[in-house]
Amino acid sequence: MDFATLIQILDSMLRLSAPLIFACLAGLFSERAGIFDIGLEGKMLASAFFSAAVAASTGSVWAGMACGVFASMVLAALHGAASITFRGNQLISGVAINFFASGMTALIGQNWFKLGGRTPSLSGDSRFLPLEWPLAETIGAIPLVGSVYSELLSGHTLLVYVALLAAPVSWWVLFRTRFGLRLRAVGENPEAVDTGGLSVAGLRYRATLICGLLCGLGGAYLSTGFAAGFIRDMTAGKGFIALAALIFAKWRPGYALFACLLFGLLEAIAIRFQSIEISGVGTVPLQLMQALPYILTVIILAGFVGRAIPPRAGGEPYIKER
């Protein structure tokens, strides 16, 4: 494998990781506040559809993204209502949201565009285009280092950079602000937060809405940045890989970024090589590469590599004492 191939793989790793990073951080905010969310997939899918559909009709990717994020936040609010106000089962609510998004996007897509659930393909202003960094061509001429700048760092769509920045920002919000401290407290010990005179429900609603916002960005990226349009069930398990990455990262933002990059890298390698020869071992089949994020997560969950301990109050509805 030469240097140019390596750069190409890393380049595609960044593009494939971006939706995982958004969804993973979305799950981080929600679960740190004590709301389990297995509906990341559905929220991303809803956003991907509305982003592409509105961008295709209005010609503006920004309008599309706004609608996509809004759709995702509506589903997040529904999840919030079910799990906070009505104290329902958060896992079941997540399952329902996934199905709802999968069914509705295909149904409305077919009804609006009559293209078998697809949206028309997007071009020009109706999608996010790659951003060329200044002097990319000049610096790219420098051997080795140049291609890192011009091929790997430059030339991604805006949302890829937003995703990479979202991780440190999330860390700062969660660990360096008062809001973050309260949010984490509500996921560990809601009674204490309640005793402190803060609204448990209010904090949890805010966390789920942030979760919706981030999933929305992830979905918008999928259909208007990564691809040029929406196709049926285009999230294809990314929400669950993000969930896996979240556990892999043991609910910490910095590790979450690296877990997503790792899972993105695995996907990039699988796409590039199809099957990999390892001398002495034989070929590694494509399907093993695809299943590796899930297998790694199970191994982490099994506690063979450190212990993954979720937020203590996760999944439990909070009932205020009367």
């Binding site: 529904l78 329902a96 999968s102 509705m104 659930g117 089949p285 299943a291 899930y294």
Partner: protein, 362 residues
């Protein structure tokens, strides 16, 4: 603790939830620009309006009975087995390996063997998440989700590289031997001189599904193990205090659950396709969640809910045919709404009802 009467608990609340789910589904149809009542009529006529329709409805229902019972058994131990999809996938693999292993002389031999193969593989696929939950405390929901994806990757690998019929492009096995053909409703009813359309795939597995429902009822309410499962699900500390081993309960309930999910393959793989295909489960594992929630985890309720979903699936096919604006995904939306209202938004109905009822009583 005050409780609502049983009739409200198992009758009225699910009914209201279901009605809400259907009203919203109707609004969706209306929004698309079609008449929801007409859509309902097409669904009912297409699914139960003819012997042909019933044949398909009961075929789908058979799948959902198995996956629904699987979720229900686990629910009694307060385990949420979301891995029915993966366990049914593996069940298909087990059933296929059994059917392809020898030239079966007669279906009476192949049928029990296929049940054993499917059940064993399904249970084995549930065993690892169950063990991780029982010994390591890894959340069963997350591990079973992961195992769904691993199962699908494993099946694709096996079908593409190992089991694919020689000289064929499509990743599917050769057809099962003739002796492994399960009698369909058409053939079985012909024994009694009753005529039934030939094409619907409903087969003897439907009777197996009825038997499985009885088995689950007897298991949960008439055996020591069932008592242990319910006690554990009701209160873990109380169960431990009574000398019930959490490890045993988790393992037993999940193995039975996986076994039931796997047995779905007897209907879909052995009974219908008669060869192993990619994605033979087609989401039935997830429908099982809706079915178990609607049936309040009781086998009788689960059975009825499975029939209802059979109606929706078969009716959905007809609906897409007669009302092209409403595509098949409408069924997925209805399924989502049923899960949402009967599962997650249950308290939305229960709390006001409780308030109303107890005010009247006092």
């Amino acid at each position: 603790m005050r409780r609502l009467p049983k009739a409200v608990e198992i009758g009225l609340i699910p009914l209201i939830n279901l009605t809400l789910a259907f009203i919203i589904s109707g609004l969706v149809v209306l929004w698309i620009g079609e008449n929801p009542l007409e859509a309902l009529y097409i669904i009912i006529k297409g699914s139960v309006g003819s012997a042909y329709g019933w044949g398909y409805t009961l075929y789908y229902a058979t799948n959902f009975v198995f996956t629904g019972l699987a979720v229900a058994v686990a629910f009694h131990a307060r385990m949420f087995n979301i891995g029915g999809e993966g366990q049914a996938t593996l069940g298909g693999l087990g059933a296929a390996l059994v059917c392809l292993s020898i030239e079966w002389p007669h279906w009476t031999l192949a049928f029990p063997a296929a049940i054993a193969g499917a059940g064993l593989f399904g249970a084995a696929w549930a065993a690892i998440p169950a063990w991780l939950q029982a010994r390591k405390g890894s959340h069963i929901v997350i591990t079973t989700i992961m195992f769904n994806f691993i199962a699908s990757a494993l099946l694709v690998y096996l079908l593409v590289n190992v089991l694919k019929a020689p000289g064929q492009m499509a990743p599917e096995t050769v057809n099962f031997p003739k002796g492994a053909h399960l009698p369909t409703a058409h053939e079985m009813l012909a024994w009694f001189g009753v005529s039934f359309p030939k094409s619907p795939p409903v087969n003897i597995s439907f009777l197996l599904a009825i038997a499985a429902s009885f088995f689950v009822w007897a298991l949960i309410w008439r055996t020591r193990l069932g008592y242990a499962i319910r006690a554990f699900g009701f209160s873990e500390p109380a169960a431990v205090y009574a000398g019930i081993s959490p490890f045993r309960v988790i393992m037993a309930s999940m193995l039975i659950s996986g076994c039931l999910a796997g047995m779905m393959a007897v209907n879909s793989v052995v009974g219908e396709a008669e060869r192993l295909l990619i994605d033979a489960v087609q989401g039935a594992g997830f429908v099982g969640i809706a079915v178990a929630l609607m049936g309040r985890s009781h086998p009788a309720g689960t059975f009825l809910a499975a029939i209802l979903f059979g109606v929706l699936y078969q009716g959905g096919v007809e609906l897409e045919f007669e009302m092209p604006a409403v595509s098949r995904e409408m069924i997925v939306v209805i399924q989502a709404l049923v899960i949402m209202f009967t599962g997650a938004l249950d308290n939305m109905i229960r709390i006001p009802l409780e308030r109303l009822y107890f005010r009247k009583v006092s």
